[in-house]
């Protein structure tokens, strides 16, 4: 039983879509001011480590009075995008939204309404903008909904094809048993992916594990690594093929495991040995493509095959490339070939280690599913080029900075401009909100209660309390939709007579929940052993078959050929290179934001200037020195920002952290440095985002 918190402290959690879920309290000091802390009395042991929040969570107080907060319902008074609004009363705003919904439905049918519910404050069991709006529209009618996975589409689909299940990772605590940790495009120092991932990596290293970072950048995670292997973006599957080649030709493959637990390896083996294209995938072959030196590839392969147990942790950057399916699949083959599947301290690629933490209640859906789902990546070009039939006339955008978060921001803004009516429900005047006809002010996480599961790397449940009243006239997403439902004639169906607290009380009554811990400490933790993924399957594949056609790990995937991909996870070269845009662009996540959330938090944003990373050799040829204003150009747009000339990035690669807010100047150039102003709508063959496969040019700004 965790210790009770001080009475003056209210437990809550940060519900950002960051990859972690951490324990916070908000305490009212003697000066009457609110401060955020981690529970000071919480013990910190290796078995039950504290869930220490990062800067994003610790800085949330500054959001309460951020300059960009919306304090009143706002009606547009200037052109779309101009940011000119006037406050109006709630009743007037809600009436207007209700009549716009009715009008659109009557004229064009409910399908003409786009419901875009985002990840702004995800993971609320019931009351995040996404969840509250999904319940609303499931009662209102069959609308059009954005869909698709901007984060880990290819990793998910690879796991589904090969393992039959998406969540297949081992708990981070098992890293303490690893002797080698391969962080392949994985950057937990900045993206976290589990509250204690960096802690366990650092501890494992102190116990003697070797840590290798494979990444086009020497990220902050490099500090925890013994070796950095820079690699050209999008070529990871070539590196994997050559590693497999070394393992195969040096007799390092765990043949017994391949025979008993996998099917289809012979095809991949033929590929790496060059039997099918007379081109063996040697380290020299891969060096040409990846930029990784051949001896390094050889060493990587030997290390990974021989130092056991070895954990290969792929990040999601490599799979957000043009043929991202291939590296996501190849990483699983490597884990099999090296014999690390189901081994404590080993493991294989995954999008998470646990499904949603401890099960708890969630807002149920009404009778209507969406009439159709459109791609959250390509929606704007689909709309602009008339590929949506019937077309869209209204957008209801909730907790989503839609134009900023989808690739090709300029096209996204253009697509919104053509709609009849746009509602944006958000705590902040985001770049997307600037295109709204009406902005409805929503509360932030600290201003609403929720029951929140851990993010996918733990098995916890949080009761996040409402710490303060919403700022100004802001209201919770649930309240707003309850009011709209009332106006549209289904109020009782939406609320069932309950407010948020009443729903949560119902959920807390479930017998498997430790309601006392949740009420008093805001947290329920399971005490079970760390999960070792596929341990049962390793021990006895016949007794514990996988949910695939063969019951085994499948290396040949007919599902891939349906998308025009090779059946095996071979390397596919990105042929999109353009002489005009010779540099590769990657757009990773920043430690100071969660996607575009927290751009409005000046405590965080001032800590690091937003820059374009460029290698000195690329900078010199362009007459660029540190801090120079530069323009980064692609086929899709231009952004202006300062240069960071650094040895920490591979030559030929430009890095701009995603998530800063789009701010086009009069010349159309984005002064906000929004990475998605440079990315395009091309997807991976199976429809995943390819936002790390950009091609750009950089020049000194005039």
């Amino acid at each position: 039983m965790p210790e009770r918190q001080d009475k003056s402290c209210i437990p809550f959690t940060c519900t950002l879509d960051c990859g972690s879920r951490c324990e916070l309290v908000a305490c009212r000091g003697e000066d009457g001011k609110l401060r955020i802390d981690t529970p000071p009395r919480r013990a910190d042991t290796v078995e039950q480590p504290r869930l220490v929040p990062c800067a994003r969570g610790r800085g949330q107080r500054r959001l309460l009075n951020a300059r960009e907060r919306v304090h009143h319902p706002l009606r547009r008074t200037g052109p779309r995008g101009s940011g000119q609004f006037t406050p109006i009363p709630w009743d007037e705003a809600l009436d207007e939204v209700a009549s716009a919904l009715r009008r659109t439905q009557a004229r064009y049918g409910p399908e003409a309404v786009l419901h875009a519910g985002g990840a702004g404050a995800i993971s609320g069991r019931g009351f995040s903008g996404a969840a509250a709006s999904a319940r609303f529209f499931s009662h209102w009618g069959p609308v059009t909904q954005t869909s698709g996975n901007m984060s880990n589409h290819c990793a998910s689909i690879a796991a589904e094809w090969m393992l039959g299940e998406r969540v297949s990772g081992s708990d981070r605590a098992t890293l303490l048993d690893s002797r080698l940790i391969l962080l392949w495009g994985m950057n937990p120092a900045e993206t976290r992916m589990g509250p204690n991932t960096t802690y366990f990596v650092a501890r494992a290293r102190d116990q003697g594990a070797k840590v290798i970072l494979i990444d086009p950048r020497y990220t902050d995670t490099g500090i925890l690594a013994d070796q950095w292997v820079p690699i050209r973006p999008g070529t990871d599957a070539a590196l994997a093929a050559a590693m497999a080649y070394v393992m195969e030709t040096e007799e390092l493959v765990d043949r017994a495991f391949m025979a008993s637990h996998t099917v289809g390896y012979a095809s991949y083996r033929a590929y790496i040995l060059g039997r099918d294209d007379s081109s063996p995938k040697t380290p020299a072959w891969a060096a040409e493509r990846t930029g990784v030196r051949a001896p390094t590839i050889q060493q990587l392969a030997r290390d990974y095959a021989m130092v056991k147990p070895a954990a290969l942790l792929p990040g999601w950057g490599p799979q957000r490339t043009r043929y991202g399916e291939q590296i996501a699949r190849a990483a699983i083959v490597l884990a099999c070939a090296s014999g690390n599947v189901g081994l404590r301290g080993g493991g294989l690629a995954s999008v998470g280690t646990r499904v949603g933490g401890i099960d708890a209640g969630a807002l149920p859906y009404g009778p209507h599913g969406p009439a159709r789902r459109i791609s959250g990546i390509t929606w704007a070009t689909d709309l602009l080029q008339g590929r949506l039939d019937p077309s869209l006339h209204m957008a209801y955008i909730v907790a989503s900075n839609l134009i900023n978060r989808s690739p090709n921001t300029r096209a996204n803004a253009h697509a919104l401009e053509g709609l009849d009516f746009i509602v944006v429900q958000d705590p902040f005047v985001t770049p997307t909100a600037r295109y709204a006809d009406l902005i409805l002010p929503a509360s932030i996480e600290m201003e609403r209660p929720d029951l929140v599961g851990s993010w996918g790397h733990d098995s916890h449940l949080f009761y996040s309390r409402s710490v303060v009243e919403p700022a100004g006239e802001a209201r919770t997403d649930y309240w707003i939709f309850a009011q709209l439902a009332q106006r549209l004639g289904f109020g009782p169906a939406y609320t069932e007579g309950k407010d948020e607290r009443a729903w949560i009380e119902d959920y807390l009554a479930a017998p498997h929940l430790d309601a006392r811990s949740l009420r008093e400490c805001g947290l329920m933790r399971t005490e079970d052993e760390p999960r070792v993924a596929l341990a049962d399957y390793r021990a006895d594949p016949l007794a514990h078959p996988l949910p695939t056609a063969s019951g085994k790990i499948e290396i040949v995937n007919p599902q891939a050929t349906a998308h025009g991909l090779p059946a095996i996870p071979s390397y596919v070269e990105d042929g999109a290179r353009d002489e005009q845009y010779p540099l590769q662009l990657i757009t990773p996540h920043s430690k100071l934001r969660s996607n575009s959330c927290l751009h409005a938090n000046p405590w965080l944003q001032r800590l690091e200037p937003h820059t374009a990373w460029i290698h000195p050799s690329d900078a010199a040829g362009r007459g660029i020195v540190e801090d120079d204003p530069v323009e980064v150009l692609s086929r899709y747009g231009t952004v202006r920002l300062p240069a960071k000339v650094t040895e920490r990035i591979m030559p030929g690669v430009i890095c701009i952290y995603e998530g800063t807010w789009y701010r086009p100047g009069r010349d159309g150039i984005d002064e906000g440095g929004c990475a998605n102003a440079l990315t395009g709508h091309e997807t991976t063959p199976s429809g995943g985002p390819a936002t790390h496969s950009g091609w750009v040019q950089v020049r000194r700004a005039k």
Binding site: D31, K33, R35, I36, D37, T38, P40, R41, D44, R50, V52, P53, C54, A55, R58, G59, R61, R62, A189, E190, R192, P195, N196, T198, Y199, A202, D206, Y218, D220, T221, G222, I223, L224, W228, P230, K591, L592, P602, W603, L604, R606, L607, H615, P616, T646, E647, R648, I649, M650, P651
Partner: protein, 175 residues
């Protein structure tokens, strides 16, 4: 009471800024001021760049140069050995800001000098200071100077203590 020191493990600090934000929140500082900052130090040449982050705050020196510089005697060490500024005596002249070789003192909007106070309200309850508890990699520590170095670490020889006895040890990996 034994005087405690701050320990900062450069091999574990990834520059996440959780400590600086936590400190700013506790101290209730304006956007542009910090009592604790995280400095990035980049070096080396591709493909072998170097990077470390150095957490800097008031190190509660044994012979604090800020106290020597203060014309009103507002700065002194308290019973725990923590260097404190007596706001009632501070004339906001900024001499301490100039005198601190670590750049750990700031002039706050009310005009008074401000800096890390060592979280006496927290340590007196037996808790670690805010920055220490805020660290996700457990790179920060606070405790007895007689504490053993963790395995594989050396005290950073490059850290210049300016001869004033800062109550801080930076650790590096022994190569």
């Amino acid at each position: 009471m034994t005087e405690a020191i701050f320990t900062i493990d450069l091999a574990r600090c990834t520059g996440c800024q959780a400590c600086s934000i936590a400190c700013k929140d506790r101290a209730d500082l304006p956007d542009e001021l910090d009592w604790l900052r995280v400095e990035a130090h980049e070096g080396g040449t591709y493909p072998e760049p170097t990077l470390y982050y150095r957490v800097v705050h008031c190190f509660h020196c044994a012979r604090p140069s800020c106290a020597d510089a203060c014309p009103t005697g507002a700065i002194d060490r308290d019973r725990q050995g923590l260097v404190q500024i007596d706001a009632s005596l501070c004339s906001a002249c900024g001499a301490c800001v100039e005198a601190c070789p670590f750049g750990a003192i700031v002039l706050e909007p009310e005009g008074l000098a401000g800096k890390c106070d060592g979280c006496p309200d927290e340590t007196s309850q037996g808790w670690e200071p805010t920055c220490v508890r805020a660290c996700p990699t457990r790179a920060l520590g606070y405790g007895s100077p007689e504490r053993d170095l963790p395995g594989g670490r050396i005290t950073d020889p490059q850290f210049d203590d300016h001869g004033i006895g800062p109550a801080v040890r930076y650790w590096r990996r022994a190569r």
